[in-house]
Amino acid sequence: MHADTVVSDPLIQKPRIAAAVLTAAFAAFFFLNFADTSFGRMLAETTGGGDSFARAGAALALALLFVGNLVLISFFPVRIQIIAVWLELAALFAAFFLVFDLNAMFIQSKLWFLISRGLTTTLYVSAAAISIAFVIAVAGAIAKLSGNGFAVAIASFYTSFFRGLPLLMQVYLIYLGLPQLGFVVGAVPAGIAALSLCYGAYMTEIFRAGIESIPKGQWEASRAVGLRFGAIMRRIILPQAAPVVIPPTGNQFIAMLKDSSLVSVIGVWELMFLSRTLGTKTFQHMEMLITVAVIYWILTMALEVVQARIEGHYRARR
């Protein structure tokens, strides 16, 4: 979106809007009923009002807190606003996790193993799969656009097949099916193969659209200065397709990072596998699940930052 050059006050600072939001928040909190929380009970005791009084009081207090918070934040610059809202939401989530009453000692004792074994395996599998998928995608996209009957048929059959089957099924097919043909593959290579084939298929379509988005004039201009197909692709078309392709590709990377958990079914010791096995002995499933969830999330955030960096790099040219 291209912002206008005229600015107006934040909506929430307009009394009517603030009042409307306050009313809506009150209604929502009243409906959710916080009378039975410690805060509600305290309210009922100190004021001596009844249960419904506590319910309304708790809702009003929370609604005021909520709207006051919004108004307060709205006075800050956008960067601060974003950081503040992020921190608040993160605090709410942390509070939610605390409800489970997790055993910190247990988490600490397993954390190093989770990272040294699980995280590295997950990263290794994902990185390998993504690199291979990238190569497949470039080749697949060129094949699809080539106008060569064989290439088009093979590429479209490939994308159709691997986008058409559930990834879990592909993992099993490759791990259990290939040995039937006489190729014995280890669990890790099989997992990498399944992931890269599947995501290669999705990314083929992304790359194809990206290449097609480059106007015909760019091809003509590069041919006119004497470039040949390989150079045109590498120097002119793909670099220009990159900014178009990067956001959806980043999406695929993130999705794949988490879909790498599917290879746990064939016994690869990655994060998901460990999260389910480490807690089993002592029935501390929740500790491991939540720890691994946080690790996945941190990884994703790291990827998001990388993606934003790359996008920023390309945006500088326009």
Binding site: E220, A221, A224, V225, G226, I236
Partner: protein, 367 residues
């Protein structure tokens, strides 16, 4: 330098080009000799771009022969990139590489196609950027340049591959009149300095007349006339050409007696050079600047007119006249200095002469 000696560097013979059912080029033949400056001009949609895009085979043609820079251009040709590397092209809409800086736009061809060392290519690029007078823009991206600057980059990029041949598709269309004049001169200078043969497309008649040593006028995919600018201006082969290059007055008439055309109640005498005039329906034509005001001249066609108005165009003044018995207005042009003396008031009667030698006669166009 522009003599028609030696072999042509571009030779087009009987070229036909179809877009589906639509025939964009019809039986085009054109020779361009080394060092020549050929301008292809014609109205919008007449096939000008299509013609020059066929020469480096950005478009496939369906019939006829094209030879460019010593190679026959056809579908099965090997190493088309070598031919293209010999032909610089400026596109109608520039087609600069938006992800590359101006310098990289210029070095793309030499480095990535011809394998010129990077440093050398950059030196050449700087040279050409200086020639088109934008050396200070070298590190910018195309989107950060004005239309005129982009135009110059496009021109420099075409020159930077050191072509034997330059194809320019309306290279000055996006530039304002003043800068355009200057760039015209610069392009001519570049042509002279580097000795490149040029084929340039334009729909601007002034550009055609100033830039060309030969003009090809194209209409509806057909070449109407090829010749030197003066020749085309003075002796247009058809009413279309006459109308397209320069201003022309047209009267429809009938040729009853050979050498004389009757328009309304007036008889116009023609000269031997006027064109075929021996019967049937014709159109006569004469240029506004050929009207003579000192009406004593012999061999002229005297016209009694009423002045209907005048337009001041700077150096010249254009006067609208209505001739008695013809029932149609026409335009006379004369130098403004002269017009100040002779200028008739609106509604005043004047007598002018249309010299027989300057009269052109064309077969009447079907309407």
């Amino acid at each position: 330098m522009t003599g028609n000696d030696g072999a042509p560097i571009i030779s087009v013979r009987g070229l036909n080009k179809f877009y589906g059912e639509f025939q964009a080029l019809k039986n085009i033949s054109l020779d361009v000799f080394p060092g020549g400056r050929v301008v292809v001009c014609g109205p919008s949609g007449s096939g000008k771009s299509t013609l020059i895009r066929c020469i480096n085979r950005l478009e496939a043609h369906q019939g006829g022969e094209i030879t460019a820079a010593g190679r026959r251009v056809h579908a099965q040709m090997k190493n088309i990139h070598l031919l293209r590397a010999d032909i610089g092209m400026v596109f109608q809409n520039f087609n600069l590489f938006p992800h590359l800086t101006v310098t990289q736009n210029l070095t793309a061809g030499p480095v990535w196609a011809l394998g010129t060392p990077e440093a050398e290519a950059q030196k050449t690029a700087r040279l050409y950027l200086e020639r088109v007078k934008i050396p200070e823009q070298a590190e910018k991206y195309p989107a950060q340049l004005s239309g005129g600057q982009q135009q110059r980059v496009a021109l420099a990029r075409a020159l930077a591959i050191s072509p034997a041949l330059l194809l320019l598709d309306e290279p000055l269309s996006a530039i304002d009149a003043k800068v355009r004049q200057r760039l015209r001169r610069e392009i001519k200078q570049l042509q002279r300095d580097f000795g490149v043969t040029t084929v340039m497309v334009t729909h601007d008649q002034e550009e055609a007349l100033t830039m060309a040593d030969r003009i090809a006028v194209i209409n509806c995919g057909r070449i109407e006339q090829i010749g030197a600018p003066r020749e085309i201006y003075d002796r247009p082969a058809s009413a279309f050409v006459a109308d397209f290059l320069g201003t022309m007055n047209f009267f429809d008439g009938v040729c009853a007696v050979p050498g004389t055309v009757r328009v309304g109640d007036c008889d116009f005498r023609c000269s031997d050079e006027s064109g075929v005039c021996d019967g049937g329906e014709v159109t006569i034509a004469f240029r506004p600047e050929h009207i003579e005001w000192n009406s004593g001249g012999g061999g002229g066609n005297r016209l009694c007119c009423v002045a209907e108005g005048a337009e001041f165009l700077g150096a010249v003044t254009r006067i609208v006249l209505r001739a008695d018995g013809v029932g149609k207005t026409f335009i006379a042009e004369l130098p403004s200095a002269l017009a100040a003396e002779l200028m008739p008031a609106e509604g005043e009667r004047v007598t002018v002469t249309a010299p027989a030698a300057e009269l052109r006669v064309f077969p009447r166009l079907a309407q």
